[in-house]
Point group: C2
Chain length 299, copies 2
């Protein structure tokens, strides 16, 4: 059993290189935690770190990074384009390989509790970890931002999941949760007609009656004269890439348009792609964990 | 850069559990070497071990296993159904991830030299490591087996690549080489007509004018009443699974027959399957090493 977790914490710092480095160092100090990437955005004054490792390593790394954020980021003097409510703003845990969502929910609760008990920062649980449906959506929790949280927390429906109804004076509050991996995947159409891409995007996106775990927009690749269906898979285990691909293919055929290519943006778990091979090759009784050689090497 | 090598050494022992265990222990003693599987076949009196790890770990594990084989296997009293010429009969190195075939060829030469210099066993290089075209095929090297090797080695064309023209008295000679990973993949047809499967197998196999790195047979799955094209991919990097799959699909359609399923037998490298996803999804500018998340975790 390979237990692997991804953690993608967001911090309210994007300009101070010394803080960005201190956060990376905290992640790097945990054995078994691998920092895949990190980037600070000066205009958003915000940074995103992508870590992968075993569940315990991810919990420890996330906690240590939150401690650095509390010590080095002061939200009373923070300005940036991105909404934020905490020095460590949001800490999602994402199941990979054979880790279940339930295990990531448990992990998020442990870390949320520890952030309150050891750092004195109140925490909210969100997405799959949410304690009520109204707290699933991070944007709902964060509405009002750092400046509005002291008043919001006094409302009965916005008591934090862990901690007193009082923001940390400089580090605010933090949202911790579990969610599936996000996959950004674009499909290019053999047409310069943006309307076709928009119509197809509407056919597949959840908001318009399409697939439940799919967000999609029609956009224009001006430099190529190609219309594109730009897709976010918010849970490829429920709405797999190949199913949306085949639906886009069928909808495009309605206009005499072909799929001329596609694009994976950033990283994806191997299983999201191997699931597609399994579908197209019509594999029977395939066992991803056992039959993919490299899976035996990830500890 | 993830340098990973697979090693699948074959030993002339399949009945003596203590020797099988000693070989496994030698493999397990090398840090960074993972023994994925091993099995002894009593009727063949032969065993196969599958190891994966970094190049140095694989070279060391293979060498240590050959030393155990020399010390514990006596070919003068060996009988079994499978042809053999050495206690350690054949030691192939197989490139995975970002390892090149050239690196495995170098590795095989290092190990072949060491087996001679430190164990006193003459070695032949085969497959991609062969010093002449007539030595690529292992069956050609092994013809005559242990009993015939003393005379064969005296022939000018059969001088060993490393060592004197004289077999080790109890451990014989060993073939060491580099080859691509083998993938066993079967395609099930929606027909009980074995003739269709045989005709399609002929269309795709190298021996009959098909794909150069593909072996194929038509067989009958009696219990299901399904004809099957049973395929060995001897180099999926040159002849990929999806290309043969699509050709089988087209040839089957000629008879009004569909592909109703397929089967991966045993293990395959992730890339062999992700290559299929890349083909069917029409991915542009896809970078397997960088964009598959787990690849960043294999050291």
């Amino acid at each position: 059993m390979t237990k692997l977790v991804e953690c993608v914490p967001n911090f309210s710092v994007g300009r101070d290189e010394s803080v960005l480095e201190a956060l990376a160092a905290a992640a790097g100090s945990v054995p078994g935690a691998t920092l895949l990437s990190h980037s600070g955005d000066p205009s958003h004054n915000r940074s995103v770190y992508t870590l992968v490792g075993g569940p315990e390593a991810m919990a420890e790394a996330a906690f240590l990074m939150c401690r650095v954020a509390r010590d080095k980021i002061d939200l009373t003097s923070h300005a940036g384009a991105h909404p934020r409510m905490g020095a460590a703003d949001v800490v999602p845990f994402i199941p990979l390989m054979e880790t279940t969502m339930g295990e990531c929910v448990e992990l998020s609760k442990q870390v949320a509790r520890r952030i309150w008990e050891e750092l004195g920062i109140p925490t909210y649980l969100y997405e799959e970890s949410a304690s009520s449906p109204g707290r699933r959506n991070l944007a709902e929790i964060r509405r009002g931002q750092f400046e509005g949280m002291p008043a919001k927390m006094l409302l009965p429906e916005w008591a934090p999941d862990f901690g007193d109804k009082k923001v940390h004076p400089t580090a605010g509050v933090t949202a911790v949760g579990a969610r599936p991996p996000l996959i950004a995947f674009n499909i290019n159409l053999g047409t310069a007609d943006l309307g076709v891409a928009k119509t197809i995007a509407k056919a597949v996106r959840a908001a318009a009656g399409g697939y439940a775990c799919c967000k999609a927009l029609g956009v224009m690749l001006e430099e190529r004269g190609v219309a594109q269906v730009s897709i976010n898979f918010v849970d490829y285990r429920k709405t797999p890439i190949h199913r949306v691909f085949e639906t886009v293919r069928a909808e495009a055929a309605r206009y005499g348009v072909n799929i001329i290519g596609s694009e994976l943006v950033g990283l994806a778990p191997a299983k999201a792609l191997v699931d597609c091979a399994e579908y197209f090759l019509r594999l029977e009784d395939f066992d991803f964990q056992k039959q993919v050689l490299e899976n035996h090497l990830i500890k």
